[in-house]
């Protein structure tokens, strides 16, 4: 039952990727660090966003940020600020910009750029320590970025 929903979701996400409305990482326009336009045109799913934020192999945002709402996820880091109230402090466009490429908002930020595919030094093949070959995938898909932003907007 659960598996079907996940597969269906993956399928939809896949379709979203292929959708003409998906903005590729290189085509994103930032204004003062914010991205006004949705990357996919498909509304983000906050439940999926929370999953991306807390899963090590996905966003792993909790490695650096504490989020009270996700207290049941073990081990929140303290490298970045507490994200409680992020949806109050920032607009949706600003959050999209921060998650896609935080260095546009915060110069020299330690926060990784989750929707960027170029400009890396010695890019590896995931966590193998070997050199990357072929096309570069961003850390998160366009729809995952939208899902994360939708979740952050619930942190009011």
């Amino acid at each position: 039952m659960k598996r079907t929903t996940i597969t269906l979701f993956a399928l939809l996400a896949g379709l979203g990727m292929a959708n003409a409305e998906t903005v590729a990482p290189a085509d994103v326009t930032y204004e003062d660090g914010a991205i006004a336009q949705s990357l996919t045109g498909v509304a983000g799913n906050p439940t999926e966003g929370a999953k991306v934020i807390s899963t090590k192999s996905l966003g792993n945002c909790v490695a650096c940020h504490e989020i009270t709402d996700l207290a049941d996820v073990p081990f929140h880091g303290e490298v970045g600020p507490l994200l409680d109230g992020a949806g109050d402090r920032w607009s949706e466009a600003e959050l999209r910009g921060i998650v896609a490429n935080a260095k546009m908002m915060f110069e020299g930020s330690m926060m990784p750029s989750f929707y960027k595919t170029d400009g890396f030094i010695r890019l590896g093949n995931a966590y193998t320590g070997k050199a990357h070959e072929g096309e570069v995938e961003p850390l998160l898909t366009a729809q995952q970025i939208e899902d994360v932003v939708a979740y952050l907007m619930t942190l009011q």
């Binding site: 090590k56 650096c64 504490e66 081990f75 880091g77 490298v79 890396f120 890019l123 590896g124």
Partner: protein, 283 residues
């Protein structure tokens, strides 16, 4: 000044419902009730614009891990040093010589580990301790060189570290070593991989902070070789560098590579003034 988040870490631990064993950052290390180890001291001059104090990774480990290093009988890394002592006394190679035949007792080498990596005038290069040992093996013993950070090499390095324990790390960074040192420094501040993180991002800007379940230290190497509870063996500094760079989703460098030799010199120099404490225990 660095901000510390010891209290924040404790709060986070209780709030996530999982017990993260936080370190007592004020504990002092005395080994066997005898060897006093400097685990915190003023930063060396070349580092003073970045850090006020340098601290050994020992300070950031849990009480239990800390105490394993206070007595050689509890320190699993000492088994490696013991094996190193056996290798030291055993003849090898076409010359039929052992390390002891030329160097005497291991204790004769007290102080050597503290000044490596070091410029070798004859060879015209900066050498790590392992490179120097391999030079003796190949050119004085007629023996095969050991693989970099492999068990024999690490065990002998642990032996040589153990006889220098308590002595201040004091690697030279000027003169002919300066070029390699500059190269190591550049690597230290380069933001590698898809996560675009440098050594400094984690170990200079965020030591004392938690990154997920890990309590970040300054990434010092005065305690190497280090016995890690995680992989239950002695680990070389280059292997640790390799792992840290791999974790940034980067193409890493290899143990023994010129990049890691330079990086070892630079990182060692960041710990000038701390005591040699290898073989240490870490998680």
């Amino acid at each position: 000044m660095k901000k510390f988040h010891g209290i924040a870490a404790l709060v986070a631990a209780s709030f996530t419902g999982a017990a993260i064993a936080t370190a007592d950052e004020n504990a002092e290390l005395v080994i066997n009730g005898d060897i006093e180890i400097v685990t915190k001291t003023a930063a060396p001059a070349h580092l003073s614009d970045a850090l006020d104090e340098v601290m050994s990774g020992w300070r950031f480990r849990s009480d239990q891990t800390q105490s394993m290093q206070m007595d050689d009988f509890d320190n699993p890394g000492m088994l490696g040093a013991e094996n190193g002592a056996e290798i030291w006394a055993t003849a090898d190679g076409t010359e039929g010589k052992s390390c002891a035949d030329c160097h005497g007792a291991p204790e004769e080498m007290a102080g050597v580990k503290a000044v490596y990596p070091k410029w070798n005038e004859e060879a015209g290069e900066v050498r790590t301790l392992q490179m120097q040992v391999n030079d003796c093996r190949e050119n004085r013993m007629g023996a095969e060189p050991w693989g970099y950070d492999k068990s024999d090499a690490i065990d002998v390095e642990a032996l040589l570290a153990s006889v220098s324990r308590g002595m201040p790390v004091n690697v030279a960074i000027d003169g002919p070593a300066q070029e390699a040192w500059e190269k190591g420094k550049e690597i230290y501040y380069t933001r590698f991989g898809q996560l675009e993180l440098s050594c400094a991002n984690c170990h200079e800007d965020n030591y004392g902070n938690m990154i997920r379940a890990d309590h970040l230290s300054q990434g010092q190497i005065n305690g190497f070789p280090t016995y890690r509870l995680k992989n239950t063996k002695l680990n070389g500094a280059h292997s640790r560098f390799k792992g840290c760079i791999r974790d940034t989703r980067a193409e890493t460098f290899s143990p023994g590579s010129p990049e890691f030799v330079a990086l070892e010199l630079y990182v060692a120099s960041r710990g000038n003034g701390l005591s040699v404490e290898g073989p240490s225990v870490r998680n």
